[in-house]
């Protein structure tokens, strides 16, 4: 176990776990809606992003009084990352497709 993981495990006790459960119940759907309608993600991607934000909260959230604001900002940032990834993936797919159309790829390059 790495040092920071150890610290997370020790500091994240039962009380925090209960608080996070409550936050999850309150905020999960509103945050999914935010990711869907304000950032234009699909519902599935929005759900993944919000789950990721809660996983980050376990490791990084210190001040539970400001948890809603923290989670909202985190979801916003994760949505931007997700959209960037989507765009990059679309570019690469288009690039690979054009390569595939222009000629067969040798098995050597596949192995690489």
């Amino acid at each position: 176990v790495r040092k920071d993981s150890k610290k997370v495990l020790v500091t994240f006790g039962l009380a925090e776990s209960r608080l996070l459960e409550e936050l999850h119940a309150q905020l999960f759907l509103p945050l999914v809606r935010r990711a869907t309608w304000q950032h234009g993600l699909s519902k599935e991607d929005a759900g993944d992003v919000v789950q990721e934000a809660f996983v980050l909260a376990i490791r990084k959230l210190n001040n539970y009084d400001r948890a809603a604001i923290w989670l909202r900002h985190t979801v916003d940032n994760l949505c931007l990352n997700a959209k960037r990834k989507q765009r990059r993936r679309a570019c690469l797919t288009a690039h690979w497709l054009s390569d595939a159309r222009s000629g067969p790829v040798s098995s050597d390059s596949d192995d690489e």
């Binding site: 776990s17 999850h24 905020l27 759907l29 809606r33 519902k43 599935e44 929005a46």
Partner: protein, 468 residues
Amino acid sequence: MSEIRSLVEAIPRWLALCRISTPNLGLERNEARSRAVLLLDELQHGHERDGSLKVRGEEIDTLHAAVELLSEESDFSRRCALGYPLFHYVRVLVWADPIGEREDLLHAIGGLLRRPAREGDTQSAVMVLELSPANRIGRSDVLGLERPEVLGSIARILWERGERNPELVRAEAVFFYCFLAEPVRSIGSMDERECCLGEFALIAGTYCRVLNRRADARLWFDRAEVNFRLTVRIQADLSRLAYQRLALRAEERIFDEVLDQAPLLTENFRRLGMEEDAVKCGFLTGLALQELGRPAEAIELFKEASAESERGGYRKLHAHAENNLFMLYANHGDTTLALERCRRASAVFAELGNRVGLAKLRWNVGGFLRTQGRISEAIETYRFALEGFRELGMRGDEAAVLLVIADLLLEQGAEAQAEWEIRAALPIIDEEKMVPEGMAAYALLRESVRRRKIDRNALRDVHGYFQE
């Protein structure tokens, strides 16, 4: 150990509560849009909806979808007909709202309903701008200076004229800001006054930045922020402000920060549907890449920006992209491509009457001739650019070009002439309180001129702080 054990024991319970494998994600997008069509129709035809009922998650999805449909409605009168009932409906709804969703919805609807008010009355705006400031004040009623449509059009015209005459546009923006700020005037029915104040402060700040008056630019950007924060279209306006602040960072050569923040801001503009601003923000990334020694990436980025701005009809941006490509190709030694880009940029700048763009292009042409070893022609071209900057009141750029000319004259062995150029530049640097970061080099240069033996390294160091 007991704490770790308790955490480990809590994990299955936590997972069960989260239902990670089958989370409820609310209403599907298409379903929400179908329901939103019905909702908007009912609201428009005055069907009573019980707003005091507690709203469920699915209904909030429908409200978001309704806003999305509203944003897609291009006919402004129909958008208003659909939007006002929706606005009043959302305002009275009750639901547990831990992340401020209702405010976001109201802001979005408010923004969609009042955005075209800025397009307003161009004819009156042109008339107002033809009068001198002293003639406007006493006739503000007749001229409609307290009508948001006129003020919005004035702001739009000032943005368009900015690169033809930045000093005049800055002065006009300051005039209209002061006119609205004191005494407090009642403009429009919502937040139009704050919106106009923010807009004029942003224009004043932008053209202070163009004119190299960075301290003033910061002051105006702060004023713009204070006013924009009171408006409903806060996200869009603060993003435009963030762009200007980032451009200021680029001019201060803090490129790491620019490279870090510009892509996020570009993304933000795209999310808000502000494509032109997104393209413009991409320029900052290109500039930072170029300055950080990554020209190949910068070329790719500017090529993309040039194509995108041409497609979108953003002609000024297209010309600026071509100008940047010209410089990049010239530095790369690719003369044919460079000249082609230069020709394109020049044609568009001339057509638009963009004097700032033309002066900067001439500066770049001077640099290109210098790399070709055509020193005399380079000096001539720099002088041409110098004239342009003088006419435009761009004192910082004027001083920078004077120093470059001095450097070239030293290269030709014309030390006395070089000293003359430096002596012309020094008062401007003093007066405008420029190069605080290059104070040591500046002091060396000043001292070397006093001794009449110019320190060329100091000259180049000082010039380095001017370069954008």
